[in-house]
C-alpha cells in the first residue's frame, strides 16, 4: 500500500514493511529518535501516520447484517456518531485482525490494524454470503492520528477545540480546509487519542499543519506505548494456534452476542480452561526473542511472545504466555538465563489519566 504521506516525511525517516504496508518506524535515523518520539507521545502530543491502517467500507442493504456476523462485538446499533474496537475472528476463533468499526449512515467503515488490511479484505470477501458491498476506501481516504496527554490542545489548533472533549469512541463530522473530515476520539495508548479521516489528497496538508503543533511519532513509539497499557497487538500476539482467551483479548469480543464468526470456538476455549495465559514481564538485561522459554527454576512454564526495550520503564518490557496457574504478577522467573519479574498492567500509567481537557 503506497504511503500517501511519504513525500511530507523528513529525509532520514526509517521505514519498515509491516504486512501489506510500508510505514514510518521512526522519523529520524538518530539513535535517540525512538526515545524522543515516545516522550512526545507520553508527555505532550504526537501525530501518527496511520497510513498502514486500511479503510474498508461495507454498504448496501445487507451491510449491518454482514458486519454483525463477521465482527466479534455488537455493531447492530452502531450509529454514525460512534465507533468501537472489535476483533475479527475466523471460524476457529483465531484472530484475523483488530479493527475500529465506525458507524456510517449507509453501513459500517472498518479500519484495519497496521499492515493487516489486505488479509482482512480477503477474509471479509470470502465470507460475504449476505451480498454486502465491500470496498477498499484506502485509495481515496487517509487517516492521521493524534495521541498524547495534550493531544486535545492540538485538535483545537487544527479543527475545532470543542471536538477535543468528545466522549471516548465518539465520532463527529467536521470540515478542515474545505473538505469533510470524519473526526473520532479513539486512542491506542491510554493517552488522549484522536483520528481524522480525510480525502487522500488532503492528508499531506493536514499532516504538515499537525507537525507544527505535535511531534511525529512512528510505529515503534506507538507500539511501545500500546504494549505499556496492554493494548492487544495481533501482529505480535496472535501466534499460531493461540486462542483469544490465551491472548487475553476477551474484552474485544462480546460473548453475550448471540452469533458471530468464531463465537463457538472462543466459548469452547473459555469454558475448557485449557491453554496458557498472557502476562507482562520485565527484566534488566537484554530483550528476549519471541519463543524464548520462560522458566521457573528448571521447569519450562511458558515462552516469550513479544518483548522490546521500554523507554518509560528504562528496562525490557514483554509479554509471555505461561501455564495458567503461574499467570500472575509479582513472580520471579527466568528467560534465556536472565531473571524476569511478571508485572501488573498497565505497566506505565498514562499521563492523560491525571491531565484534564481544558
Amino acid at each position: 500500500m503506497t504511503n500517501v504521506l511519504a513525500a511530507t516525511h523528513p529525509e532520514g525517516t526509517v521505514y519498515g514493511e509491516i504486512g501489506d504496508a510500508t510505514v514510518p518506524l521512526r522519523f529520524s535515523a538518530s539513535p535517540e529518535a525512538l526515545s524522543e518520539e515516545y516522550t512526545a507521545l507520553r508527555e505532550r502530543a504526537a501525530v501518527i501516520d496511520l497510513g498502514g491502517h486500511r479503510l474498508i467500507e461495507i454498504t448496501g442493504p445487507a451491510a449491518v447484517e454482514f458486519a454483525q456476523r463477521v465482527l466479534a462485538r455488537d455493531v447492530e446499533y452502531l450509529t454514525s456518531d460512534r465507533c468501537m474496537m472489535s476483533l475479527v475472528l475466523d471460524e476457529d476463533g483465531r484472530i484475523v485482525d483488530q479493527v475500529i468499526a465506525f458507524g456510517r449512515e449507509d453501513g459500517i467503515l472498518l479500519e484495519s490494524s497496521c499492515g493487516a488490511g489486505a488479509r482482512l479484505l480477503e477474509h471479509l470477501r470470502e465470507r460475504n454470503d449476505e451480498g454486502a458491498e465491500i470496498a477498499d476506501r484506502s485509495e481515496d481516504l487517509a487517516i492521521v492520528g493524534l495521541e498524547g496527554p495534550y493531544a486535545w490542545g492540538v485538535v483545537g489548533r487544527l479543527i475545532d477545540a470543542e471536538l477535543a472533549s468528545l466522549p471516548f469512541e465518539s465520532v463527529a463530522e467536521a470540515t478542515w480546509d474545505g473538505v469533510d473530515v470524519v473526526f473520532a476520539r479513539t486512542g491506542f495508548t491510554g493517552e488522549y487519542g484522536y483520528q481524522m479521516i480525510v480525502p487522500r489528497e488532503s492528508a499531506p496538508g493536514l499532516w504538515s499543519l499537525s507537525v507544527e503543533h505535535a511531534r511525529p511519532a512512528g510505529q515503534e513509539a506507538l507500539e511501545l506505548a500500546m504494549l505499556e497499557v496492554r493494548q492487544p497487538m495481533p501482529r505480535h500476539e496472535a501466534t499460531p494456534g493461540a486462542s483469544v482467551i490465551e491472548i487475553g483479548a476477551n474484552w474485544l469480543v462480546d460473548i453475550t452476542k448471540e452469533s458471530f464468526v468464531g463465537r463457538e470456538a472462543v466459548l469452547e476455549a473459555f469454558e475448557s480452561g485449557a491453554g496458557r495465559s498472557t502476562v507482562g514481564f520485565t527484566c534488566a538485561v537484554g530483550v528476549p526473542a519471541p519463543g524464548t522459554r520462560l522458566m521457573a527454576g528448571d521447569q519450562v512454564i511458558g515462552e516469550v511472545v513479544h518483548a522490546v526495550h521500554s523507554v518509560g520503564l528504562n528496562a525490557t518490557l514483554g509479554l509471555a504466555r505461561v501455564d495458567r496457574d503461574l499467570a500472575a504478577a509479582g513472580l520471579e522467573l527466568s528467560a534465556g538465563g536472565v531473571g524476569v519479574t511478571t508485572l501488573t498492567s498497565p505497566y506505565i500509567v498514562p499521563k492523560s489519566w491525571s491531565v484534564p481537557i481544558i
Binding site: M85, F168, G187, G190, V229, R230, Q231, G248, N250, W251, I255, T256, F270, T278, V279, G280, A296, G297, Q299, I301, D325, L326, A327, A328, A329, G330, L331, E332, L333, T341, T344, S345, P346, V349, W353, S354
Partner: protein
C-alpha cells in the same frame, strides 16, 4: 522460590482477582461471567468500558466487601483488576 511456592503466590493473587471480578459483575449488573474479565485488561474507557458513575459504585463496593477505602486514590488503581488487587490486598504488592 520453588515452583510450588510460585504457584501458591500466583494463586493468592488470582484469588483476590477473582473476588474483585465477582464484585464488579455483581455490583454493576454485567451480563458476563466474572472469569470473562481478564486480570490485565483496561477497565475504564477501553476494556470493560466503565464510566465515572461505575467508579463511584466500585468505591462503595470495595469498602463494603474488602474494608479498603480508595476514595482519595488516583485513577491508576483502577488500571486493571490486578492493579486493584494490589490495593485491596497490599501483601501481594509487598511481596511482588
Amino acid at each position: 522460590m520453588t515452583i510450588d511456592e510460585l504457584r501458591a503466590k500466583a494463586a493468592e493473587r488470582q484469588q483476590t482477582c477473582d473476588q474483585i471480578k465477582k464484585m464488579i459483575v455483581s455490583r454493576l449488573d454485567l451480563e458476563i461471567e466474572p472469569g470473562w474479565i481478564t486480570d490485565d485488561q483496561p477497565l475504564f474507557g477501553r476494556g470493560l468500558e466503565l464510566d465515572s458513575l461505575d467508579v463511584l459504585e466500585l468505591y462503595v463496593a470495595i469498602e463494603a466487601e474488602f474494608g479498603v477505602a480508595l476514595y482519595d486514590s488516583e485513577m491508576a488503581v483502577f488500571g486493571s483488576v490486578s492493579r486493584l488487587a494490589d490495593e485491596i490486598n497490599p501483601a501481594l504488592r509487598a511481596r511482588g
